[in-house]
């Protein structure tokens, strides 16, 4: 469309294929977000090192391995801004993990189970212009 702004770009890192593809398809259609999706943390690291994004939605996994990927981002080891708006997805986290997560300043933490609709709302928040909020907001849909 002439004169329209380019679509915002989101990196979606989520191992569950049905959830990932459904969320990505609906976000592209309704939120007009250019979603790059992957199930792999290794692929996510490469993407963050080589492509620019406006937001990151990252499943940190049972072993919290996704936090290592987020640490690279926050350390400035990718070509994306250190404070790239980020939402984390998790099965469940204990207090120690929550403390570590807070240090990485995600904009949102979604604890499973949650709905595609909820994740869509979070993507819309990530794509909004403006300064990143400090600290994490915890949602359970």
């Amino acid at each position: 469309m002439p004169g329209s702004a380019p679509a915002k770009r989101l990196l979606l890192v989520e191992p569950h294929s049905l959830f990932r593809s459904t969320l990505a398809n609906v976000a592209r259609q309704l939120a007009r977000v250019d979603v790059q999706e992957t199930s792999s943390l290794d692929a996510a690291r490469v993407a963050l090192e080589t492509q620019r994004f406006d937001g990151l939605m990252l499943n940190i996994g049972d072993d919290l391995a996704g936090l290592d990927t987020l640490q690279l981002l926050r350390d400035g080891s990718t070509i994306n801004p250190k404070n790239l708006p980020t939402a984390l997805l998790a099965e469940g986290v204990d207090q120690t993990s929550i403390d570590r997560i807070r240090e990485m300043s995600p904009k949102r933490l979604l604890l499973m189970p949650f709905k595609v609709r909820t994740a869509l709302e979070v993507i819309s928040e990530l794509m909004e212009p403006g300064p990143m909020e400090a600290g994490a907001t915890f949602l359970r849909a």
Binding site: L18, F19, S21, T22, N25, V26, Q29, L30, P113, K115, V116, R117, L120
Partner: protein, 165 residues
């Protein structure tokens, strides 16, 4: 009640369905996982993968319904396969086409229906992915988009199955 109409391309549509070699086969996890995902996403008691045969609709995958098939003539899915987009009845009692349908006046007492047609080839809808509830409900653009995405996943699995994948 308005009986489910017959598409103009019914012979070709039925051939597309029969070529899948899927009617009266056992449940498969590849479809059941999508049905269960839809139930959890939409909070409805009944979700069906319905295949519309010549005289019946048969359910390849189902949650919340004991019957494995019902007559096509009274089916909602028989209407939905004539559409390209999701066919939605937010309250059957407010719709004269369905208010006196036996599936509304008797078990499972359908008040809400949303069915996305499974179009394998242009104009060849073999059935639906459908949501059913005994309570009326609103169904907005986001709901439609999510149902459509899940429908697309079912269609892909049907193609994969036919290809032997």
């Amino acid at each position: 009640m308005l009986n489910a109409p017959t598409p103009l391309n019914e012979p070709d549509r039925l051939k597309t369905l029969l070529d899948l070699l899927i009617l009266d086969t056992p449940p498969e996890q590849r479809f059941d996982r999508i049905i269960e995902f839809a139930r959890d996403e939409f909070d409805v008691p009944t979700v069906l993968l319905s295949l519309v045969d010549s005289e019946r609709q048969w359910f390849k995958s189902r949650v919340g319904l004991d019957a494995c098939e019902t007559p096509r003539s009274i089916s909602f899915c028989g209407h939905a396969i004539l559409q390209r987009e999701p066919f939605v009845i937010e309250d059957t009692l407010e719709d004269p086409r369905f208010a006196d349908n036996p599936l509304v006046t008797g078990p499972p007492h359908i008040r809400f229906y949303a069915g996305a047609p499974l179009e394998l080839d242009p104009g060849m809808s073999v059935g639906t992915l459908c949501l059913i509830s005994p309570e009326p409900r609103r169904f907005d653009a986001t709901d439609r988009a999510i149902l459509t995405a899940l429908r697309d996943a079912v269609v892909q699995e049907l193609r994969n199955r036919k290809a032997g994948a």
